[in-house]
């Protein structure tokens, strides 16, 4: 432009000269035009140009590099498509991968955006300079936003270094991170799995990963949040189903346990006003942390009102809002009953996570009731199993309460019969499911029995029936107990007779006899009262009453009681061959109910077998006989206690017995005894959580004492791990506290006798200590 201007000036001066020749009268002073000023760009112009051209160069080289990188990457990835032979493809990949890492290809690639950013800022700086030079106002209004952006950019660059969780970062952050971590002195450290302190990786993304995985309280908080988030965001039934399936697995190990505890704790804090159960911290098996409950000797109001016109068990369940008794408040930790036991947690809606989860699973359970809706049995089965396992886990680990899940008895019963849990357990298959199903079932049965009036009525009738066998003076229960003892003695005598019969058979076939057997057979048996005329007392009616009761329990529990592993059934069925008969007799101690008349019948059957000429006991039979040498002396007496417990004790003792028998079976098939200790302990606590109500039930006291004190008490039948026996002893201590009576004296006497069985003596000493402590402590 300057050039054109100069040309114009030159032409104009030429024209002016020519005009001066044409009209000389005018003297025009001719001044030669000034020489063209030499072009000299200002310093500012140079700066601006330098910035801008640098910016151009940077961005173009970024573009070039970007194209190159894309090409490299394409070539690199081509390996996977090029060769189908896995070995070849793997080798080429490794070859190239090493090259790429060795030559820092990722760094190069990451620097491309850096170039672009540099270019942008160069342009900005140039722009600011340029505009400022022209006009201060315009310049300032340009520079201020540019400066702000620059500051933000700087902050963004350093943000991830200061707060690794920060989502803001730039391409430079990685480089600075690398330098800082390399310098070791300022480097961020983390604790690795072994607990050692280590420098975080020089690679930023990897470093963030390490920090996210670091075992800290923060991580626990994040896990808790994640679970909460998941629960809130799952809405579909099918999603819930997969979540329920995943729940049991999420309780493995200490960490997960703590996380779940925290999940439930957080929510409890949120609605403290509605809390009735406050967990008391303490080790799981610490006996002393049991709190003393208020004495509730009266039955709960609702247990009187539930006898409806239809005596079906569904009606016997309280709707969640009405279940305010401590029966249903179950926590893993030793629990403390607040004075306001009738104030329900269930009425107030809460945001409690386990609570929310429970209601979702309860909904899932309800969908399971309608089996034909499911496309296949397999789908139904999957959902039900998921529900069962999740429910058990939540109750045992996450302080969920059983009544949050509503009425789950029916689906439980259905899944039990469908899966044939008894058979599964016998085969040692599918242990984790069987275990969870069993634990949940016992809890549910216990809850059902404690409020089931018709079961109580049936138990009462059975006791009355026992009391009428022989007339006697005194309270009905005492008469019944005396009668039961009498039947027991007679059964014992009858059995001795069978043994004597056997003795001759053994001699005849010259079968070697064990020392124990010889000892017992040396005693001369007394004749039983019944002798040949066995129909003097009406044992048959006792049988039928008990059978009624059993039928009632089976029906109301949707036959769950039939599927519990390890429980024997001694129904009014008849085994005709000696071997099964003997085995049935062996199983008497593991059966929930015994039928005296039937036992007597079996004796007579055996007798006929034994008296036949060519009878020779098989190995199987001999084994059974060995097991029967010590006849359980108080079969019916125990049964009577059990009936009394069902009648007055809310089936507390019954459930404990059931639990121990089942636990024996579960433990005998499981590989490790301690692996599920928390589950078992939690189940036990859930079962006995309302012991305060039934403290004064004599039947319950007796049956619980018998489990430990008797020679053949349930606890001695299997080598139960101490975590569970300690729980039992703790329960015993609380139930017996401030109590007295001949049955306790009797138990103490029994316990004082030495027992040489391995492991048993220790337990008995402990039990003795517990009982004497509860006796001396002030009531």
């Amino acid at each position: 432009m300057v050039y054109y201007l100069q040309q114009n000036v030159a032409l104009l001066s030429q024209v002016s000269q020519q005009i001066s020749f044409l009209a000389p009268q005018f003297a025009i002073p001719t001044t030669p035009p000034p020489p063209f000023p030499t072009f000299k760009p200002s310093i500012s112009d140079v700066r601006v140009n330098a910035f801008w051209f640098m910016a151009l160069a940077f961005s173009l080289s970024a573009a070039l590099l970007a194209i190159l990188v894309q090409q490299w990457v394409r070539d690199y990835m081509y390996v996977f498509q090029r060769y189908s032979d896995p070995l070849k493809s793997a080798r080429i990949r490794q070859y190239l991968h090493e090259g790429a890492e060795g030559w820092h290809m990722p760094v190069v690639a990451e620097s491309v955006p850096c170039l672009l950013h540099i270019s942008l800022f160069l342009f900005f700086v140039g722009l600011g300079d340029f505009v400022l030079d022209i006009n201060t106002t315009v310049g300032l209004s340009t520079i201020v936003p540019i400066g702000t952006i620059g500051l933000l950019y700087t902050f963004t660059t350093f943000a991830p270094l200061l707060y690794p969780q920060s989502p803001y970062q730039t391409s430079f952050s990685g480089f600075i991170w690398y330098i800082i971590q390399r310098s070791k002195l300022f480097g961020r450290r983390f604790r690795d799995r072994d607990g050692g302190s280590k420098l975080v990786s020089t690679h930023m993304a990897q470093g963030q990963m390490q920090l996210a995985m670091e075992e800290t309280e923060d991580r626990k908080g994040r896990d808790v949040q994640a679970i909460q988030w998941l629960v809130e965001n799952l809405t579909e039934d099918s999603e819930m189903e997969s979540f329920a399936m995943a729940i049991p697995g999420s309780f493995n190990g200490e960490w997960s346990f703590e996380v779940w505890t925290k999940v439930s704790r957080i929510s409890q804090d949120e609605n403290k006003s509605t809390d009735q159960v406050e967990p008391v911290s303490g080790p799981l098996t610490d006996i002393r942390t049991y709190a003393v409950p208020p004495v509730v000797s009266q039955p709960l109001p609702h247990s009187r009102t539930i006898l409806g016109p239809f005596n079906s068990s569904i009606r016997l369940f309280m709707p969640p809002a009405a279940c305010s008794s401590p029966t249903n408040s179950m926590t893993l930790r030793p629990i403390q009953y607040s004075s306001k036991t009738h104030h329900s947690t269930s009425i107030t809606p809460s945001r409690n996570v386990p609570r929310e989860l429970s209601s979702r699973i309860a909904h899932l359970f309800r969908t399971c009731k309608n089996r034909p809706v499911f496309a296949s049995d397999e789908l139904w089965r999957r959902r039900t199993r998921a529900c069962v396992e999740a429910t058990t886990s939540l109750i045992c680990y996450a302080d969920a309460e059983l009544n949050w899940f509503g009425d789950i008895l029916e689906p439980l019963g259905n899944i039990g019969s469908y899966e044939k849990t008894r058979e599964l357990s016998l085969a040692g298959m599918d242990q984790s499911f069987v275990m969870r199903w069993t634990c949940l079932s016992i809890m549910t049965i216990r809850r059902m029995l404690s409020v089931n009036e018709s079961v109580k009525k049936d138990a009462r009738t059975a006791i009355e029936c026992l009391g009428e066998l022989w007339k006697g003076d005194g309270p009905d229960d005492e008469v019944a107990e005396r009668n039961a003892q009498r039947v027991d003695q007679n059964l014992m005598k009858e059995w001795r007779h069978r043994l004597t019969e056997l003795r001759w058979i053994f001699y005849r076939h010259q079968i070697p006899m064990s020392r124990k057997m010889l000892d017992i057979l040396d005693e001369r048996p007394e004749a039983s009262e019944w002798g040949e005329s066995k129909d003097k007392v009406d044992l048959k009616s006792v049988d039928s009453k008990i059978s009624n009761l059993q039928g009632r329990i089976d029906e109301d529990s949707y036959r769950i009681s039939r599927q519990l592993p390890g429980i024997q059934f001694n129904d009014l069925c008849s085994a005709h061959l000696p071997a099964p008969t003997l085995e049935l007799l062996c199983g008497l101690t593991e059966s929930t109910f015994v039928f005296p008349q039937q036992i007597l019948d079996m004796f007579h059957q055996l007798s006929t077998h034994f008296s036949s000429k060519n009878y020779r006991p098989t190995d199987r039979e001999r084994e059974a006989i060995e097991g029967l040498l010590y006849w359980q002396e108080n079969l019916l007496q125990r049964q009577l206690w059990r009936l009394q417990d069902l009648r007055d004790g809310g089936a507390l003792g019954f459930a404990v017995e059931l639990f121990f028998i089942v636990l024996g079976q579960l433990l005998s098939t499981s590989s490790s005894q301690d692996s599920h200790s928390v589950l078992y302990v939690a189940t036990f606590r859930a079962i006995v959580s309302d012991w305060g109500q039934y403290k004064y039930s004599l039947g319950t006291q007796k049956i619980l004492l018998d489990t430990v004190a008797s020679n053949q008490g349930i606890v001695h039948r299997f080598n139960y791990p101490t975590y569970i026996t300690d729980e039992l002893l703790a329960l015993l201590e609380h139930i017996l506290e401030g109590q007295s009576g001949p049955h306790i004296e009797n138990a103490v006497q029994q316990l004082s006798q030495p027992d040489d069985r391995r492991g048993v003596q220790e337990l008995r000493t402990k039990a003795l200590r517990v009982i004497s402590r509860s006796r001396t402590s002030p009531s």
Binding site: Q70, V73, A90
Partner: protein, 55 residues
């Protein structure tokens, strides 16, 4: 020591391939996206304005 894996080791190398592929793909995808971003930026600022000026 000369030799090679025989066909029965294919499973191992298939596994390697799969693992490497998922690893590389995720990494390369981000790289590619970055590069695309750069190219689009450069094109829009340096190519189009001149085109517009010519027109």
């Amino acid at each position: 020591m000369i030799g090679d894996f025989d066909g029965s080791a294919n499973a191992l190398w298939t596994l390697y391939g799969k693992e490497a592929e998922s690893h590389d793909k995720s990494r390369i995808q981000t790289l590619k996206d970055d590069m695309d971003g750069v190219l689009i930026f450069v094109c829009s600022h340096f190519v189009h304005p001149r085109n517009r000026a010519d027109a």
